[in-house]
């Protein structure tokens, strides 16, 4: 994963900025590793059409490359025989595809109703403060952390809930925040 150090705020993950809905360039052509290609081939056998495999293929791309760049869209489109525009349209429909490089740990704070009632906003604010006054969507200078706000993570029973990359973390409060961040290597 590439760090966010040199990436302008506006181009980082999180909410797309108004007037900035185009895919960012990674500055180089991208392709899958042989291992990812093998996964992709296997994936195709599970769907009736290539188009149907678009979402999981984008997941592979995100795992491989860290985020979905302009080049990644073109590459996925060529793999699946779709138009790049279609792939980009699908990418922007979903929030969980990163449209800009993110830090090693993408910390996703839920601020929907249950977590909100449990004080998620304060924890979110506190976390951003500790990481050096990050704004939502920004990445720390060392490229380790990106913090964003997300909708319900379906862990309302463990509010305030947080997700780090693909892993759930339950009941993150101001009190255990230090420990939580320390645990992210």
């Amino acid at each position: 994963m590439s760090g966010g150090a040199g990436t302008p705020v506006s181009e980082q993950a999180g909410l797309p900025r108004e007037g900035e809905h185009g895919a960012l360039s990674a500055g180089k052509a991208v392709s899958f590793s042989p291992k990812a290609l093998a996964r992709f081939e296997k994936l195709l056998t599970r769907y009736p059409t290539k188009q149907a495999a678009l979402l999981p293929t984008l997941w592979i791309a995100q795992e491989e490359l860290g985020w979905i760049s302009r080049e990644a869209v073109d590459y996925v489109a060529s793999l699946l025989g779709l138009s790049p525009a279609f792939v980009w349209g699908v990418t922007t429909f979903y929030t969980m595809y990163n449209r800009a490089p993110v830090g090693k740990h993408l910390i996703q704070f839920c601020t929907s109703i249950s977590c909100h009632l449990a004080g998620a906003e304060e924890v979110f604010a506190e976390c951003r403060k500790r990481l050096g006054d990050l704004k939502p969507g920004e990445t720390t200078a060392d490229g380790r952390f990106t913090v964003i706000e997300v909708e319900c993570l379906a862990q309302c029973d463990k509010a305030p809930a947080v997700m780090v990359n693909d892993d759930d973390c339950a009941i993150i409060t101001k009190e255990n925040l230090e420990q939580f961040l320390g645990g992210l290597k």
Binding site: E18, G19, E20, G22, S25, G89, F93
Partner: protein, 571 residues
């Protein structure tokens, strides 16, 4: 076929029709945005709501396939209320600035709002804005303004289903949804401007026409595209002797609802006129001209008299007449008659350019190949010229021999100064100039007119009527858009006047008369009448977004509900 009832009117529609099409077939106008007869059904806009007996809620009529006995109430209170609500939702985020929108006058949103919407707006909140995504080029011809988009997806479906290129997509979602291309790609295909045609609002417009003329000032003339041998039916849209745009004119057997960008943007080439009077050689001026070719303007009498004199003096075999695949069949036929029969030369020929392949999606058309009609000759009437008796030039023909220098005609009569793109090439023109006497019909100045002895000023496509024979062998008529300034004649008139001097033509013949004469002798025209519907085609449509409206029966407007039969709203 199945029988359905729309607002009390029984109507029979094909099995695969939908309820919206049934309403239209019954002459009931149901407002809609996303439905287009050539695109897949998406039920995207929810504008076409109607009541259908047996269905608990109002239905988007375009998404409901008809069944036998279906009773549709398109103008019931419930249906109108549902449509009003949809219209209000659409307008919540639509800028209320029709006066500065170029679509105004042919906008479906405007029309439907006026016809069926609320008279006042209940929202005063600021409208959605897309900084950076308004008034932006998304391709060589199309400008997008997302503040106006109503998310009907027609443009996207055009690119996916007709062009097959898929450049457009929705990005983001909900209130942020907009139509755009993927970064680094443009809306750039052979028919990209058709995406602007099908856009019901001012979200997609063409660079070439945008803000050029308010559409209600335009006059529409049925014509045929001069771009290639497919001969897409077009509407020449003009005002005060200026052509402002071409739009496709529906012809289900030829261009369907489309035309290519190449043809469409030839519109501008019809404007401009360099010759208002005939030009003849002048001995007195000769000395002062560097090329020793002094010329002056004159009247038709002198110019045609001179041409007549030269033709009579020449040996028939030393006369070469060049017709053109840009001229109508009528004109080519007169040329063949006059020069072949009366002057008696065997040399009546034409030469047309092979152009890049032009394609028009119409899987159902006769001669369609892989879903496309294809045209390779870069002029509309190569077939017609040949059918009229003008031979295609070859290496051994008179034109070929003139080009190799083995024939020096006494008179070279070029009935179209732009018969080939090569007439702009000085080397080619120099070879034609070898002829002892050179006559050309021309509208605009070119390398060829610069060296001609006699220039006869003609109107060009906008000023005349006639017919072309397209690649499918279909006879297609075009009409006069506007009459050229007085002394300029049409090619047909020039030939008639010249023929009259030989005593074979009469100047009072109209194009229709000539059509009649040629239809009697030319097999490709056999049995056709000038006024036959197949020859005339359909009239231009009011709005490019609803071009298919010309196909439907006369309509009952939704605001005529009080005049509908009692059965409509009740029971």
């Amino acid at each position: 076929m199945v029988k359905v009832t729309v607002d009390g009117t029984a109507v029979e529609v094909p099995d695969n029709a939908n309820a919206l099409e049934a309403c239209r077939a019954a002459g009931v106008d149901v407002p809609h945005f996303c439905y287009h007869p050539r695109f897949s059904i998406v039920g995207q806009c929810r504008m076409c709501m109607v009541e259908i007996d047996g269905a608990p809620k109002v239905q988007a009529s375009c998404t409901v396939p008809v069944r036998g006995g279906m009773v549709i109430r398109a103008s019931s209170e419930k249906a109108l209320a549902a449509r009003n609500a949809t219209m209000e939702f659409l307008l919540i985020n639509h800028p209320l600035d029709c006066p500065i929108c170029d679509q105004a006058g042919e906008c479906q949103l405007q029309d439907n709002a006026v016809a069926g919407g609320l008279p006042v707006s209940r929202t005063s909140e600021p409208r959605r804005q897309f900084p950076g995504y308004d008034r932006t080029d998304i391709g060589p011809h199309v400008i997008a303004d997302m503040t106006r988009c109503i998310q009907c997806t027609r443009c996207i479906r055009f690119c996916n289903e007709i062009a097959g290129t898929g450049e457009l997509t929705f990005i983001e979602r909900g209130g942020h949804t907009m139509v755009w291309t993927h970064e680094g790609h443009q809306l750039d295909n052979e028919w990209s401007a058709c995406a602007a045609d099908v856009c019901p609002v001012g979200a997609l417009t063409t660079k070439e026409f945008r803000f050029r003329k308010r559409v209600w000032w335009l006059k529409k003339t049925a014509s045929v595209c001069p771009g290639c041998e497919i001969g897409c039916n077009i509407s020449i849209e003009h005002r005060e002797q200026v052509v402002h745009r071409f739009l496709p004119r529906v012809n289900l057997g030829v261009n369907d609802f489309w035309m290519c960008d190449h043809g469409r943007f030839l519109a501008e080439s019809l404007n401009g006129r360099d010759f208002l009077k005939p030009v003849v050689p002048d001995d007195f001026l000769k000395a002062s001209e560097p090329d020793g070719r002094g010329r002056r303007e004159t009247n038709w009498g002198e110019a045609l008299g001179l041409v007549h004199e030269k033709l009579t003096a020449a040996k028939p075999a030393a006369v070469l007449a060049i017709g053109s695949a840009n001229l109508s069949t009528e004109e080519n036929w007169l040329l063949a008659e006059l020069f072949g029969k009366t002057v008696g030369t065997p040399n009546v020929e034409f030469d047309a350019d092979q152009g890049p392949l032009r394609r028009i999606r119409n899987p159902k058309a006769i001669g369609a190949d892989g879903g496309f009609l294809k045209g390779t000759v870069a002029a509309p009437n190569a077939r017609g010229a040949e059918a009229a008796g003008v031979r295609k030039a070859s290496g051994e023909s008179a034109l070929g021999r003139l080009l190799t220098g083995s024939l020096v005609p006494d008179v070279l009569y070029v009935a179209d100064a732009a018969f080939s793109a090569r007439t702009a090439d000085p080397a080619f023109v120099a070879k034609l100039r070898k002829a002892k006497f050179l006559v050309v019909h021309a509208r605009t100045r070119s390398a060829l007119t610069d060296v001609a002895d006699v220039v006869l000023p003609v109107s060009g496509l906008t000023g005349k009527d006639g017919s072309f024979l397209n690649v499918q062998g279909r006879v297609q008529r075009f009409d006069v858009a506007f009459v050229p300034p007085p002394i300029v004649k049409t090619d047909l008139e020039v030939l008639l006047h010249l023929g009259q001097r030989f005593g074979v033509f009469e100047t009072r013949w109209t194009t229709a008369d000539v059509f009649g004469k040629l239809a009697a002798t030319v097999p490709a025209y056999g049995g056709l009448a000038w006024d036959a519907p197949a020859v005339v085609g359909l009239p231009p449509s009011v709005s490019p977004a609803a071009s298919y409206d010309v196909l439907r029966p006369p309509r009952t407007s939704v605001d005529d509900t009080d005049k509908l039969p009692a059965a409509a709203g009740k029971a």
